[in-house]
Structures are given as C-alpha cells and as structure tokens.
Symmetry: C2
Subunit: 327 residues, 2 copies
C-alpha cells in the first residue's frame, strides 16, 4: 500500500502539501502542484490510511452498533437505517451482537472503545446491567428502543412510546370483544412497559390481570409456542397480546396446531411489524415501529453530534397500530 510520503516524493514535494490537498486545505496551493498531486494519486490508486489519520486526529469516522442479535428480524432494518445514514456521511459501522448477555455487551463496548470509535448506538440487553460503566468513558452514545434513566449529556435516546402502544394494542383486542386476554412477552429487568401497557388497558376496562394468562420468557418464536400452550391449558383465552411479532408467530402456530382458528377462537396482536407479518395467514395485526427510521435517525443524531457538536437529544418516534386479519 503506497503512502502519502511516497506520493510526495514522486511529485518532488513534501507530504505536508499532499496532506493539505487531500483534505481540501488547499487555498494557498498552486494549481500546478495540486493537479500534479491529484494525478499522481490517481495513477498509483492511492488511498489515504485512515487509521494513521485516526490516530493523529482522534477521529476514526466509525461508529459502533451494539445490539442483541442481528438475526432477529427486527434489527436488520434498524441496522440498515444506521448503515445508510453512516455511509452517506462517510462513516463506517461495526456491529456487535450481545445475545442479551451483559458480559458480552461490556466486552463489545471495550472492543469498540479500543478501536476508537467516535460513538456507539446501543440497543441494550434486557438483563440488568449498570449503565454507569458506559458513561464513565467519554464516548457519545445513543440508546435505541430501550429506556435508560440518565440525563448525561453524552447520551441521546430514541424510542417509541411502548407503554402507550401496548395499551392501544390491548384496547383494540378489548374493542373487538375479547374479555379473557393473555400476554406473552419477554422477561425484562428494567422497563417492562409492554406488560405494563397491557395491564393498564385491562384495568381501565375493568378486567382482571391474571397471572395464569401471562407468560414471560424471551423474544423468540419458541416463547410464543410455549406461552400459548401454557395459557390455553390454564383456560382458553379469546385474545393474546404478544410482546413482539416473533412471539406472535409462535403463538399463532401453536393455536393452529391445537386446532383453533384465528381470529374466530382467539385474536392475536403482535409488536414491531417485521416485514413478514403481513404475509402470515391470517395477516398479523401488530404495532408498527419505524425500525429503519429509528436506525437512520439514531445514526444521524450521533454523527452530527460527532462532526458538528449538535447536542444529543431524546427523540420519540411514532408508532402505529396496523390492523390486519388476526384480530
């Protein structure tokens, strides 16, 4: 790989001059040398070494994205949004899956820090872990899709009003005539707002929250299967609110395999609106989160903070209840 110094030598000038030209600080450079340098760069297919530059200027033009699991279909869309925003600013993004393991989360963070990323986008583990570890180093963070209690100026936040959305989804079930409504979701160490929203809707409608109708594990199809089975065996429900679409997929499969029909016997609603929910049969009623936009906005916020010092802020994204055939 050819270096700047070699380009300079080839042109018979100093590398300082080449540097200036490359970085556009070329107001005081003669047109002749500029042309020569540009031409030589092209000739040798020279690409500046970004890591040397990063070491010098303390900016790598790279952000990290820490998330539970890229193979969970909710995340790729966010990731794509992040990538697109980053790419358009000349930033690269390095991804780290945590599998919801706080230890791996911390390791990933350290790894990114050692690589001098300029900031990180964070979808945190559901398990409890101290956020302070992340704040103590002075790295801008924007938290996506999770709540975190802090007023640190170094962290931005971006989420939908999940409590409200869950309440709305449950209310929809009630409006459809459901009276015995189950909940299948993920166990969650801090902000169990999907469950809370569900409870709130039930209470407001004068319905009782029954433990036997609630099942919590993780955000997987498996959980949907098991949760649905458990709830049905505790007495047939006429509706279920699922913590995400993956769970809804499992729940629907379980309902079918037990010989019941959706929505006649049970109505089901999910959360997220992953791209395939509309292709399920019956098509799934669900709460749409604007995943791509969330990723895009998060990256934009982070990057403009990095490059222009724009303060990090809290952004509430709009959700939407999408009513399809499953209710």
């Amino acid at each position: 790989m050819i270096t700047m110094k070699e380009i300079a030598q080839e042109c018979g000038i100093s590398s300082a001059t080449v540097s200036k030209i490359i970085n556009g600080n070329d107001e005081h450079i003669s047109e002749a040398t500029r042309a020569l340098v540009l031409q030589t760069i092209k000739k040798y297919n020279y690409v500046p070494n970004a890591v040397a530059k990063g070491l010098k200027v303390k900016r790598t033009n790279t952000i990290g994205f820490i998330l539970p699991d890229i193979s969970n279909p909710f995340f790729p869309e966010i990731a794509r949004g992040v990538e697109d925003a980053a790419e358009s600013c000349g930033f690269a993004v390095t991804f780290c899956d945590t599998d919801n393991d706080p230890k791996r989360e911390l390791t990933s963070f350290q790894l990114l820090r050692s690589k001098m990323v300029d900031g990180v986008i964070f979808t945190r583990t559901l398990r409890h872990s101290s956020f302070d570890d992340y704040l103590s180093v002075n790295l801008p963070i924007v938290v996506v899709d999770r709540r975190v209690e802090t007023t640190n100026r170094n962290v931005g936040k971006l989420f939908v009003d999940t409590f409200h959305a869950s309440r709305q989804a449950t209310e929809h079930l009630i409006a459809r005539g459901c009276r015995r409504i189950g909940f299948v979701g993920a166990a969650n160490d801090y902000d169990d707002v999907r469950y809370l929203g569900y409870c709130s809707a039930l209470e407001e409608a004068g319905l009782r929250v029954e433990d036997a109708l609630c099942y919590k594990s993780d955000y997987s199809v498996e959980t949907g299967h098991r949760g649905m089975k458990a709830i049905i065996s505790a007495g047939m429900p006429d509706g279920v609110f699922c913590g995400n679409d993956l769970i809804a997929v499992g729940a629907m499969a379980e309902i079918h395999s037990m010989g019941f029909t959706i929505p006649t016997d049970v109505r089901v609603v999910g959360f997220d609106d992953i791209y395939l929910s509309r292709y399920l049969r019956p098509a799934l009623t669900t709460v749409r989160q604007p995943a791509y936009d969330m990723g895009f906005e998060a990256a934009k916020m982070l990057i403009s903070h990095i490059t222009e010092g724009t303060p990090l802020c809290t952004l509430k994204m709009k959700h939407e209840l999408i009513i399809r055939e499953s209710t």
Copy 2:
C-alpha cells in the same frame, strides 16, 4: 483516555515493559512489576489503543463484510455467523451494504481498505463488475454465495451447489406431477445457475422451457407478486420454482389473492429457507442453505488465514431440499 505511557509513569517504569506485559511477552519480567502493572491497568481502567497498535503492527483485527442488503432476511443469519466467529477470535467486523450497486460496492471496498481491515468477506452484487479491482490490492477475500472465476491465492470461496439444488427443487415439482412449471428469479449478470438448474430439470424430463413462464427481476417480494401475475396471465402453471423465499412469499400471496389454492392449483418451492418460511401457510417447501454456518466458516477461514497463514480454500456447503406443505 489514559495511555500506556501514563500507566508506565504511574508504575515508574518504561512503556516497553508495560507493552510486553500486555501482550504476554512477559517471560523475563519480574512477578513484582507484572503485578504492579496489572493492578494499575485495572485501577485506571486502561484499555490499549487498538488503532495505534494497528498502525504499528499492520493488523487491525477487523474484517469487513460487504453484502447487498442486511435487511434482506437471508443475510442476517450469515452476518450472525460471521460475527460469532470473529468475536471468538477477538476480531471486529464492519458491515457495508451495497444495494447491489457495483459503485457502492467499490466505494465500500475502498473504505474498508483505508481502514486497514485485515480481510473482507464478500457477497457480491449481481450486476457485472470487474473483480480484478479487488484483487490488485493485496487483501485476503472470501467470497460467499456467489461464483467468481479466479485462482488467485488471495481469495477463498464458499457456496452451495446452487445449480444442483435448483435442479433438485424443480425435479421435486415434476415428481409431484407438475408439467407446466414457472420460474421467478433475479436477473443476474454472471452466474444464473438457479435458472440453469431449473432449465436442466425441465429438459431432462422432456418439458419445454417457455419464456412466457419465466420472469426475472430482483430478489424481492414484489418480484414474486409481479412474476406470478405475469406467468398466470400467460396461462395457468401448475408449479413455480422461485429464486428465493422472498420471491416465493410474494408469489404465494399473489396466487391466493387471485383465488387459487396452494398446492392444489399450483405448487411452489423457494430457495434459502429463511426462518419464517416454515411459518407461512402453507409452509413453504424450499432449499435450505446453511446461512449461519456459511458465515461462520467464511469468517473462520479468513481469520485463520490472517492469523496463521492457513491457505484460503474453496468450501462447498451442503444444501437440503426441505419439503413442506406448499408442494
């Protein structure tokens, strides 16, 4: 961020010694200083600066992954495999989406190169682009899920026998009694093996390949819709082979919306076995590609080449026809 020099000062020794301890070249270091250094590192929460190290040793412990679109559900699983393999070796991975645009592909490659990644995993654009540009720089590459003609020692390959798999899928349709079989796939500038496999099966069965039964665009649900509509309007088929599961999803939706039934009226088979194919109704018959393993093996091959000089090779992964309800 505290530096090694400062750690050294704090301990009253030189940074060379600290470096040795950190990198495990500490055979000739007294137990006392070692303990002191380790303790000081912990005390200050020191993390070595990987970019300084990278600049020095010409290894960043980072690989790039260039792919068409992380939000296409086939890729996240590959990505997860890549990430897991990388993580276990202390490598990070930075992702670049190309949207099947050869220009963006090249840009991404340059970006990664400037960041001194140690190698790149490549799922190339379907459009024609010269691979030579990538070979001229001396960066190890492993190509996944695409064919590429080269014997360059710097490139490894990893794929399933798509031709054979497609043939098998089409033969399955024929075995089920289909005689008028359509193909909906992606236009592809170089290795159109899915189509070729389809043709081969038809010919072997004495069936004619009809242009009116073939539709090619891109690997999306939309294409499935449009392709199916086009084919049906040219005369009702009794089977369709779809270039991937996304297309199959669209095709199935179109078939249903036109009032036909699967598999009674038309049988459909897909390709990839994305995680949701089994949850479609009817569940989709498809060719399973071991996406996670492909990513994992690709990254393993690349990284062991980087760290141990293991030669890059060509790996053929095993596919499998998964027969479900749609046929």
